[in-house]
Amino acid sequence: MKQTRSFTRRSALLAGTAALALVGASSAQAQEALRFGMAMPLSGGQATYGQDQVKAAEWAVAEINQKGGVNGKKLEMIVLDTRADPQAGIQAANRLISVEKVPAFVSAWSAVVKAIAPVANDNKVVQLSVGANSADIAKLGDYTYTTFPLADVDITAVARYAATQMGKKKAAVIYINNETGTVAAQIYRDVFTKAGGQVVAYEAYDPKASDWTGPLLKVRAAQPDMIHIQGLVADTPQVIAQMRQLGLTQPVSSYSAVYNPKLIEQLGKAAEGVIATSLAPGVTDSPAVAAYVERWKKEVGREPNGLPYTQYLYDAPYIVAAVYKSMDDKKLPMTGENFRKEMLAMRSFDLPLTGKLTINDDHTVNKPVYLMEVKDGKWTQKAVVN
C-alpha cells in the first residue's frame, strides 16, 4: 500500500515538473528582446569559476539594459550549465540554437568549446569562446571565435621574459598532463630554447595527483635556475608548496590561471617571488577595474575567483550588444551568419574592463600581457609585455 502511494506522489511531481517546463518555455518565447546564450559550468568541479564568470556577465547585461539596452530593446542572456563537460556542453549549445534560437552564444573551457564547434558550424551560429586558451581554439572553423588570448600569447611572453630580461639560462618545466598543460609546456620549451636558454627538465604530472615528489626530484637533480609550472588553479599552489619543502628555491613562473588571491592565501610566505601572467589590466591600471573589484567586495564579500577571466566575461555582453546594435541599425535579420559578418566588419571593440579588443582573421586576438609577481604578500605588477 505504502509503495503505491509514494509512487503516485512521485508521478504527480514528475507531471508537475513537465507542466512547469512547458509553461516556462512558452512564456520565454512571448517576450520581445534581443537574446544571446551563455553556456558555462554552474555545477561540478569548475563551478566556483563558472558561477563568478556568469555573475560578471549578468552585471554587464543589467548595466547595458539600464543604459537603454540595444537601441531601446532589452538584451537578454540565457544561461545554461555545461558542467565543463563536452557532452553537456553540446546539449546546452543545441538547446540555445534550436530552442532559444540565438544568433550567438558565449562558452568556455577548451574541451567544451571544441565539442560545440561542429554544432556551431552546422547551424551557422557564432560561438564566442571567452576564457578557453587551448591553441586549437583558433582552428575550429568559421563559427568559433575567441575574445580571449590563446595560450601562446602569455606563455610566449613569460618564457621570453625569463630568458631575455631575467637572464635565465636553464629552465625546468613541470606541467599537468592534460590539454592545457601539454600544449602550453611545449610552447614554453620552444620559446625559451629559441631565446637562447636551455630546458633541462621537462616533467609531466597526472591531473589527479596529490603528490609531486617524483617529478620535483627530477627537476631538482637537473639544477635549473628557473622553474615554470603549468598547472591548474587547484594544484599549482600545492606543487609550489611541495617544491619549497624539497628545498627548491629557484624563482617560479606560471600563467594566468595562477594569478589569484587564493595562491597567496594558501601558500603564505612560500608564495613570495612567484610570477604569473594576467591578460587583463589590474586594479592599479584601470579605475574601472578598481570599481569593479570594489563592487565584488561590497556585494559578494570577496574578490572574484580568477579575476581576469571574470573581466573578460563582463565584457562579452558588451561585444554582443555592439554587434546586435549594428545589425539592428542596418535592419539585418538576427541570424548567426549576419552576426559573424557584422562582428568581422567591426573587428575592433572598446571594452570597459579589458580595453581594446581586435579580432584577427586567423581567429586569434592580441592583448598585452601583464606579468605579476608576489611581493610582500601581494600581487604587484612586474612588467607589461606587448
Partner: protein, 297 residues
C-alpha cells in the same frame, strides 16, 4: 529541432549502454564498472579508422564494436579464470590505463580530444535518418537482452549467477558463459561509442572516466537492475531530467547546485524508497516486502 534530436540520440545511446551493462552486471552478475572504456574503444577505433584510414563509416563502426568486443575478451579471460572480484580490479585498471594511454599518444589527439571525425548519414540522408538508426540500435539492444534473459540461455545465466558451483557441477562451462556475456555487452557499448563519435564528431578521454561509469550504473540501478525495461526507464530519466530542469527558468544561483544534487539525490531517494528501482524484478522484491513482518511480535 536539433535539440530534440540530440536528446533522443543521447537517450537512445544511454539505453544501449544501460541495457548492455544490465546484461553484464544484472543478469550475469559480473562485477565490473568499466563499461565506459568499451564505449571509448568503439568511439576511438571507429573515428580513427574513418578519419585517418579512409574506411567507410559503417564498416568502421562495426570494426569499432568488434574491437571493443575483442578488448573485453582479453580483459575477461585471465581475470575470470581466477575469480569474480578480479574482473572488477582488472577492468578498472584497464579503463584507467587505456584512457591514460589515449591521453599520452598523439594520434588519438591526446588529452585535448579527437576532432574532425567524419560525419555519417547527417549530410546525405538528414539528421532524422541518424536518429532513426540510433533508436533502431537501441530497440534491437533491448529486444536482444530481453530474448537472452528470458530464453534458456537466461535461465542458465541466472543459475550460474546464483550458484556457480552447482552450475559447474551440471557440466556447464561457467567461464565461457561469463566471457561470452561480457563480450556481447561490451561490444554493444562499443557500437554505442561509434554511433556517438560520428554524430557529435568530437571525443575526449575525460568523458569515459569513472564519472561515466557512475552514470551508467545509476541508470541501471535507478531504473531497475535485472529487468528489461528498468535500464530503459533509467536512461530516459537520467538524460531527460537534467534537461527538464533547465526549462524551469530558475535563477543561476539555484540551477547549478540543483543539477549537481540531482544524481546524488536520485540515488539516495531510491535507496530509501525503492531500492529495487523503478521497474522491479519480480523474483527479487517479493521477499523484501514480506520482510518487515517477519520479526514482529
Amino acid at each position: 529541432m536539433e535539440y530534440i534530436y540530440t536528446l533522443v540520440i543521447l537517450i537512445a545511446l544511454g539505453v544501449v549502454l544501460a541495457s548492455s551493462f544490465n546484461l553484464i552486471i544484472g543478469y550475469a552478475g559480473l562485477v565490473s564498472i568499466a563499461h565506459p572504456v568499451f564505449y571509448a574503444i568503439g568511439a576511438y577505433v571507429s573515428a580513427l579508422l574513418a578519419r585517418d584510414h579512409g574506411v567507410p563509416v559503417p564498416v568502421a563502426m562495426i570494426l569499432g564494436a568488434l574491437a571493443a568486443m575483442a578488448a573485453s575478451i582479453a580483459v575477461a579471460l585471465p581475470s575470470l579464470r581466477v575469480s569474480g572480484d578480479y574482473l572488477l580490479i582488472a577492468s578498472i585498471g584497464f579503463q584507467l590505463g587505456l584512457l591514460e594511454a589515449i591521453k599520452n599518444v598523439s594520434f588519438t589527439g591526446g588529452a585535448g580530444g579527437l576532432t574532425n571525425i567524419p560525419p555519417f548519414l547527417i549530410q546525405t540522408a538528414g539528421r532524422e535518418a541518424y536518429v532513426a538508426l540510433v533508436v533502431g540500435v537501441a530497440v534491437l539492444t533491448v529486444l536482444l537482452t530481453r530474448s537472452i534473459a528470458h530464453g534458456p540461455y537466461g535461465r542458465a545465466l541466472s543459475a550460474m549467477r546464483d550458484d556457480e558451483l552447482a552450475f559447474a557441477a551440471l557440466g556447464r562451462n561457467a567461464v565461457a558463459m561469463k566471457v561470452a556475456v561480457f563480450a556481447l555487452g561490451s561490444g554493444l557499448a562499443g557500437l554505442a561509442g561509434a554511433l556517438y563519435a560520428h554524430y557529435f564528431r568530437f571525443v575526449t578521454p575525460e568523458q569515459f572516466e569513472l564519472l561515466q561509469s557512475a552514470a551508467i550504473l545509476t541508470m541501471v540501478v535507478v531504473g531497475g537492475i535485472r529487468t528489461t525495461w528498468g535500464p530503459v526507464v533509467g536512461a530516459i530519466l537520467l538524460q531527460a531530467l537534467p534537461q527538464a530542469i533547465t526549462f524551469l527558468d530558475l535563477p543561476v544561483a539555484l540551477l547549478g547546485p540543483l543539477q549537481g544534487l540531482l544524481f546524488t539525490g536520485l540515488v539516495l531517494v531510491f535507496m530509501f524508497w525503492r531500492p529495487q528501482g523503478l521497474v522491479a524484478a519480480g523474483e527479487f522484491w517479493r521477499p523484501s516486502r514480506e520482510a518487515p513482518d517477519v520479526g514482529r511480535p
